[in-house]
């Protein structure tokens, strides 16, 4: 996996953004940017060649689910891998996110191991899909 890839972390709590950023740095990723909700994230995604999006669900302004839908609806962003890291733990929500095209779903509270596992899994599958 390319540790130079550009990652956007979206969460309304700055502490959670910091935690995710630190965990990503431990995994070797250093090219990380932050946004505090979908409204600020979407223009960043549209104008800056991001390789990976990690987003919360429940945020004021534009939610993570709406951001995911907007990404999938945007021709240039539609293929962007999206990992949702959220406290939303209802089964129908997870199904809804899956239907909207999420690539991975992590419920808070989570561990560093889980984050690594899900990221690895997403890129393995993308690679397999690209080769197959």
């Amino acid at each position: 996996m390319d540790t130079n890839m550009k990652i956007l972390v979206v969460d309304d709590f700055s502490t959670m953004r910091r935690i995710i950023k630190n965990l990503l740095r431990d995994l070797g990723f250093t090219n990380i940017q932050e946004a505090d909700d979908g409204n600020s994230a979407l223009p960043m995604l549209q104008s800056g060649d991001f390789d990976f999006l990690i987003t919360d669900w429940n945020m004021p302004g534009m939610t993570g689910l709406d951001l995911l839908k907007a990404v999938r609806a945007d021709q240039r962003l539609a293929g962007l891998p999206v990992l949702m890291v959220t406290a939303e733990a209802k089964k129908d929500q997870i199904v809804e996110a899956a239907k909207a095209g999420v690539n991975g779903y992590i419920v808070k509270p989570f561990t560093a191991v889980t984050l690594k596992e899900k990221i690895d899994r997403i890129f393995e599958r993308m690679q397999a899909a690209a080769q197959g």
């Binding site: 630190n22 429940n58 406290a87 089964k91 129908d92």
Partner: protein, 252 residues
């Protein structure tokens, strides 16, 4: 008692009036007086009943007024007060999290440096022990070991300082715990008052039970917020394993 009953038993009828006229015409004073007395008594009964009902109503109204004024103070003072207390809890926990994160972010590079230097020196030290080292290189190694020992002491000191910072950052728990406990007490009080108000109101008018809105769901975001063990059940996954199972059943 219906109105017809009333007119029969309690108020003056035409028959009563005629009987009274007959008694007076016949000079039957005792009979006339008894008749008037009976009629007056019937009227008094009605009056007393009415006064009794008014007294009860007044009593209830006064009680309810007392309830109302305590609800007013709950709404005007206690609830905004609780809101501020809870905002303070958010601020304190956020501050503690940042304090901890800063300490961790400052510690990680120190630990990294220690590991890198120690690994490097350990490799060279092994070569020296197996007599696989030139004299010049050994001469270089000695001051480097001394340098590392100084660095290790300094880093260890700094690391313990960062760790006590992490320790001290946990002092929010005690204070926020106390604040939240007070807010829980307030919520309990509001609940009691509301139940009493409903009971009082229920005696005066029948209130049709209304369907409760489904859940504490945020209409704008479609989000439920974090699930709480023992409170949220059924529809909620219990952890990451269940999420993974659910997603793999959907072909992920």
């Amino acid at each position: 008692m219906t109105e017809t009953d009333n007119s029969k038993n309690n108020s003056m009828s035409l028959d009563d009036a005629r009987a009274l006229v007959v008694a007076l015409e016949q000079g039957d004073d005792d009979g006339a007086r008894a008749l008037v007395h009976r009629l007056a008594e019937a009227c008094e009964d009605d009056l007393f009943q009415e006064i009794g009902k008014l007294t009860r109503d007044l009593h209830e109204a006064l009680n309810q007024f007392q309830l109302d004024s305590s609800i007013v103070s709950l709404a005007q003072e206690d609830i905004p007060d609780a809101r501020e207390r809870l905002s303070y809890v958010i601020a304190m926990t956020e501050q503690a999290a940042h304090r901890t994160l800063t300490a961790v972010e400052q510690s990680v590079p120190l630990a990294q440096q220690l590991r890198e230097h120690a690994t490097d020196l350990a490799g060279r030290w092994r070569r020296f022990r197996s007599r696989d080292m030139a004299v010049e290189e050994f001469r270089e190694l000695v001051p480097q070991i001394e340098e590392f020992l100084t660095l290790a002491t300094g880093h260890a000191e700094q690391l313990s300082a960062e760790l006590s910072e992490v320790l001290m950052a946990q002092d929010f728990q005690d204070i926020t715990g106390q604040i939240i406990r007070r807010v829980i007490e307030l919520v309990q009080e509001v609940e009691t008052q509301l139940v009493r108000l409903l009971e009082t109101a229920g005696r005066y008018r029948k209130v049709e039970p209304q369907e409760r809105p489904a859940r504490l769901v945020n209409g704008d975001t479609g989000a439920y917020g974090p699930s709480v063990p023992g409170v949220d059940a059924g529809e909620v996954v219990s952890g990451q394993d269940e999420v993974d199972d659910l997603l793999s059943s959907l072909g992920f």
